[in-house]
Symmetry: D3
Subunit: 136 residues, 6 copies
Amino acid sequence: MKVTVNRKAHFNAAHRLYNPAWNDEQNFTVFGKCSNPHYHGHNYELIVSVAGEVDPETGFVMNLDLLRKIIEEEIEDYLDHKNLNIEVEEFKNLNPTAENIVVLIWNKIRNKLASNLDLKVTLYETPRNFVEYSGQ
Amino acid sequence: MKVTVNRKAHFNAAHRLYNPAWNDEQNFTVFGKCSNPHYHGHNYELIVSVAGEVDPETGFVMNLDLLRKIIEEEIEDYLDHKNLNIEVEEFKNLNPTAENIVVLIWNKIRNKLASNLDLKVTLYETPRNFVEYSGQ
Amino acid sequence: MKVTVNRKAHFNAAHRLYNPAWNDEQNFTVFGKCSNPHYHGHNYELIVSVAGEVDPETGFVMNLDLLRKIIEEEIEDYLDHKNLNIEVEEFKNLNPTAENIVVLIWNKIRNKLASNLDLKVTLYETPRNFVEYSGQ
Amino acid sequence: MKVTVNRKAHFNAAHRLYNPAWNDEQNFTVFGKCSNPHYHGHNYELIVSVAGEVDPETGFVMNLDLLRKIIEEEIEDYLDHKNLNIEVEEFKNLNPTAENIVVLIWNKIRNKLASNLDLKVTLYETPRNFVEYSGQ
Amino acid sequence: MKVTVNRKAHFNAAHRLYNPAWNDEQNFTVFGKCSNPHYHGHNYELIVSVAGEVDPETGFVMNLDLLRKIIEEEIEDYLDHKNLNIEVEEFKNLNPTAENIVVLIWNKIRNKLASNLDLKVTLYETPRNFVEYSGQ
Amino acid sequence: MKVTVNRKAHFNAAHRLYNPAWNDEQNFTVFGKCSNPHYHGHNYELIVSVAGEVDPETGFVMNLDLLRKIIEEEIEDYLDHKNLNIEVEEFKNLNPTAENIVVLIWNKIRNKLASNLDLKVTLYETPRNFVEYSGQ
C-alpha cells in the first residue's frame, strides 16, 4: 500500500541563462532575454513528492514536519534570495535552467531521505512553465 | 488509446491525529498540534482520476455525470461535515491521516467502478499538503 | 499617494454553527450540516490588507515582516488547530460564523497597527465562500 | 537523467456533444445539456509535457520557445475561437468530447516533436474536469 | 458592522460579439475572432458579493444557502450550457460582452435580494479577463 | 452604468531593496535578505483594472485588445527580464519595492488611457504578497 505525500515550498532567486563556451550573440540566439547579463528572477514554487508504505503506527508515509525541515535546510536556506549564477556553487559552471535546478534540488533532498522512499520534485519557474524530475 | 478523466470534488471535516496505544506526550511528540483532543479541521479537496479506453459511441472513458454521482454518494455523503474520528466507522480504530483517508476513498470508489478502469485518488488536506494513491 | 499592501496567511480549525437560545431542530433548520454537534472544520485562508502612505525612506507602507509577525502572534497562534467553539474565548458565547471570525481577526490586528493605516481583512472559509470586513 | 518540461496554453471554443447515429432523445439521455443544438463553450486550458534527456550545452530538454511556437501554430491557430463541430475537420464525424480533443492535440504536437522525446497532454475543459493522454 | 459575504458559481456558454448595425468587416475590425459567426465559448466563473449588517441571532449577513439557490435559479438555470445570442432573451438585441452579461446578472440577483443589502458581481470570462459591476 | 474591466499580465525581473543613504548594516536590518547585493527576483503578476461607462455600440468599457497592447508596450517591454535597479531609469534613485513599482506602472498606463476612465493596478510580487494603487 504505497501512498505519495506532497509538500509545497517556495523560494525567490535571480539568474541568467548563459553558456560560457559561446559568444554573446550565440547566447542571445538560444536564450533570448533570459541571457540578460544583469540578471532577471523568478518566484520558484516547489512540490516535493515522497512515495512509500504507510507506517501502521503513525498512519504517515513520513512525518511532513520532518520533510518541511529538510526542504527548509537543504533548499530554502541554500537558494532563497540568492543569485544562482554567482552565489550557488553548483551553478558556477552549470547553466541554472529549470531543468538543472530541479536535478540539484532532487539530489540534495534524496541525500536526506530514507532509501526505501521514492522521490519526485516538481519546480515551477513561472505559473506557466514547470519541470519535473524523479531520478531516472 | 487510454485516456485519463479527472473530476474534482470537496468535503469539510474535523479530525485529530491520535494513536490510542500511546500516551498523550507521545502523541504530542509525533503529531504536534494535530493531536489537539478538541479537534481541528480541513477543507479536503479531491481529484478522482479514472483511466480507460475511449468508447467510440460516446467519446467518453466513462460518463462524468455517473462519476459525479459515485463521488457524491460514496464520499461526500459519507465524510462531509463529519468528525472523522467519532462519526466514520473506519476511523474508530484507524488514525485519520491524509494517507489513511485517501486509501479509504480509493477503496470506496474502486468498489463502484467497472473493473477495466484504473483509479487514482489525490486528496488535498490543505492547499500545501496533499497525498495520492493508485491502489498499488 | 496611498498604496495597499496585502499578505496571505492561513490556519486550520474546527467549529460548529449553533445558537444556544434555539433548540436542536431550529439550529438544524438554519445551519444544516454546519450545526453537527461533533464539529467539522476548515482551512481558513486569510488576506490582510493595510493601506497607507509610502514611506520615502523605505519605499514601504509598512514592513511586511512586521505584519507577518503580527498575523502570526495575534491570529495563527490564537486560532490555528483550535476548536473555535471550545477553545477561543470570544466564541464561547458567539456563533463562529465566517462573519464573526473576520470581525474578531480585524479587531485583533487593528489593535496592533499604527492609527494612520487602514485595515481590511478577507477570510476564505472554503475556496468558494469568503467574507470581507474593513471596520465600517 | 530524464526531466519533464511543461508549458501551459489555452484556447476558447464552442461545441456540442452529439452522436449522429442516435436520435435527439438518446443524445439528450447520454449527453444532457451538453447536446444543446445551439452549442455551448469552454475556456480550454492546456498543459503540454515533454520528457527527455537534458542537453549539456543548453541545460534544456527542449527550447520552450520552440514548444510555444508549436503549440501556437498547431493548436491555438487551429482551435481558438472556433466551433469545433462545424469548423474543425476531425470533428465533423467525431464527437468533440474532452477525450477526443486531447487525443487530437497529442497527435498534432507529436508530429512536430523529435522522436526521442516523450509527450503527454493534459486538457482542462473546466477548472473541475480535465483529461490526460500520453499516447499509450 | 458591515461585512461582505461572497459566493462563487460558474456556467458554460457559447456566444459571438456582433453589432447588427455594422457590416461583417466592421464587426471583424472591432471584435476580431470574437465575431466568428459559428460562435465560440467560455467557462464563466462568477463571484456574487453581498454586503450588510451581521444578524446577531445567526451571525450571518444572509444565509449563503439561500444565496446559492438564488444564483442557481436566476443565473445557472438561465445561462448554463446556452448560446447567449440565440437562447437568452436579453441578448437578442444586445451584444453579449462580459460587460453586458455582468449587468444582466447583477439585475437578476438584485431583484431577489432584500433592499438593505448591497450587491456586487464579478464575472471571469477567462482566467485572464474579468469584469465587475456594483450597480452604480 | 459603470463597469470595471480587468486584464492580467506578467513579467519577470531581478531587484534588490536598498537605500543608498544608509550603510550595509542598516539596509540589512530593514530589508533583510531582500538587500542581497547580488540581487534576487520575482515573477510579477499584474492586474490592470479600468472602470468606465459601457459604450452602447460595442458593449465594451474599452477594447481589451487595446489595453493588452498598452500593457505590452508600456510595462512588459519596459520591465520584463530586466534588473530593475540597474536597467530601469526610475529605480536608479528609487527603491524598487512593490509599492514603488505599482505606482510606476499606474503612472505609465494612466498616460495612455482616456481621461474619463478610472484606473487601478494590482501587483503580485509573490503569490502571497501583493500591492494595489488607484492614484489617490
